[in-house]
Symmetry: none
Subunit: 193 residues, 4 copies
């Protein structure tokens, strides 16, 4: 309201958040091919209004990706993975992922595309995860016959699928988190193999 700040920028941060949430929902459900119209409708605004907040489709997806990543980053940081033992660490990590279920589901649909700063994902998400799992391998708590990289794939693969169940409402976030943690660590086998 000073003297001159005409046009551009500002616009309510609340609406922006609503749009990102709507986009997350829509993309989580219908996949990356969801249209701008779908998102606008889900956010309860007109298509043209959507463009006031995000100048184009890519900007929206970048924004969504970035918000999802921020969530994940925050949750993981708050989990203080390196202050606990590996098993507890995996449990916390799972809760971190399932806490932003819808956004992560959307993120998964978009693969690596739209990453604003790919290094962020690497540094704040993958690195902590790898560190945790590597620690487990080194300590003998995790299998050493499975390469670290596959540990990561398996774990995030489980997240990806089970999060779909959460988004569909078939499972609660807590239950889902516990399930993945448990299955990841013990498998579904009951006894020897």
């Amino acid at each position: 309201m000073g003297a001159q700040e005409r046009e551009e920028g500002a616009v309510s941060a609340g609406v922006r958040r609503e749009i990102v949430d709507a986009a997350a929902r829509v993309i989580a459900e219908r996949g990356e091919s969801a249209s701008m119209a779908d998102v606008a409708a889900a956010a309860g605004i007109g298509r043209a209004t959507l463009y006031r907040y995000f100048p184009n489709r890519e900007a929206l997806l970048v924004g969504l990706t970035s918000a999802a990543l921020a969530d994940l980053t925050d949750n993981i940081a708050a989990a203080e993975l390196d202050s606990v033992d590996v098993l507890e660490g995996v449990a916390r990590l799972s809760r971190a992922f399932f806490r932003s279920a819808t956004r992560y589901a959307a993120l998964a649909h978009m693969r690596e595309k739209y990453l604003d700063k790919p290094a962020e994902l690497e540094r704040r998400v993958l690195a902590p995860v790898r560190e945790l799992l590597q620690r487990g391998i080194d300590s003998g708590e995790l299998r050493e016959d499975v390469p670290l990289e596959l540990h990561v794939e398996v774990l995030t693969g489980l997240y990806e699928r089970v999060i779909r169940l959460v988004v569909d409402g078939r499972l609660g976030a807590e239950g889902a988190s516990a399930l993945v943690t448990s299955v990841f660590l013990r498998g579904v086998g009951a006894g020897r193999t």
Copy 2:
């Protein structure tokens, strides 16, 4: 259809198969939004020719889905799951899935859409899988604290993710199959929990 197979959609079955393969490859890599042009190019034919084999996009995807399902169905039938114990059964099942990695990857990208006869999936794929896993639960070889439905989700979730590694050439089908089997049954935990 003796010598003169006229009537609708006869056309060379060989080309048809090539098209389906091309579609599977393209969809497995670029997702369901791959265009008819992409598929035609991958199959080495013109767009218009593609339409001689599949009258529209949906028909192609139904055809692909159906081919993938047929593969899966055949592989699972050949695995004779009910003639072996549960642990061996899971191993065979995994091999069955990874044997048609690319097609299954495409199938996964398309979710339930395009299922010609949903009952087929239910009867020839899911039913045997459930039967196998239920048998495991009943016999105490699989965890009874995880509902059957989640067993299925976890297992196919692992297939879905790891198959991506196979399609990307980062893992061989055999190794991938063994990995999933082992992780599914034992998890990645090394000791008790």
Copy 3:
């Protein structure tokens, strides 16, 4: 409209003038396709405010056209073309046109569209110009082998192009005016032909 000028479109006449000037500048430079946002920005006001002064784009362009025409009309009237000989008359006419260079440039970009009252242009601009030139033809000071209408086209055509140089700052209004006058009357040829 004494002290309390209410009724439609009163609003500050000063701002209105600024807007028209801004529009003239923008249209002279970027052509008729300049957007309302461009004009608002150039006028240093918000888009919505612009609409308080001109209810729609056409109204703005009509306003601009009309202002440009008014300028031209005034300048031409002040030139008292019929009180001087033809050669001096052409010189005065040129100065009249170049005096509102930017507005005339904008006018040229818009062609005949947006003329509020086409008769005005005809009566107060074209008529005096034709009268002047016809007088020249009749007196033998201008070529009689070129139809009057083409005299007009050639002269205004020269104005249109050379005014662009003025708007771009490559030529001063006085110099430009002298150039066109001289070229119009003598051409660029140095000797007989």
Copy 4:
């Protein structure tokens, strides 16, 4: 028709030419803001078909610019300006411009934008023109009190305006060409000044 030349390119050169002609007509009349739909309609084809020949609007305008430039270039080259005296040279130059009236009119509407290779315009059009006019100045056939650059502006300014008359059908190309040549060289003044 060899073995493989699928998609892209080729497409009838005749249609391409028709499109460029249609675009020239439409742009000459309605200005650069003419829509792709306008052009398609003028060419008697569907909008989507237009995109088979020109992948986007810019490509079309570049193509048109390039065609106009080619015309001009050819005509100027064929005029062999440097083999004749300056006065004849100007006459030939004018004919060269008016020979592709519509295309040049369109070119003028688009200003410098869309020039594929700006050097081409410089080297094959402006350079010969400047050379001719400079020769005239040096020989005393053209006025030396007007800078070369203004000679060029005046001449092309006359072309631009008078070509409009040709496009509108108010003047034939030959007459227009003679008019501009004559006015450029002698002005419209009949006697001394």
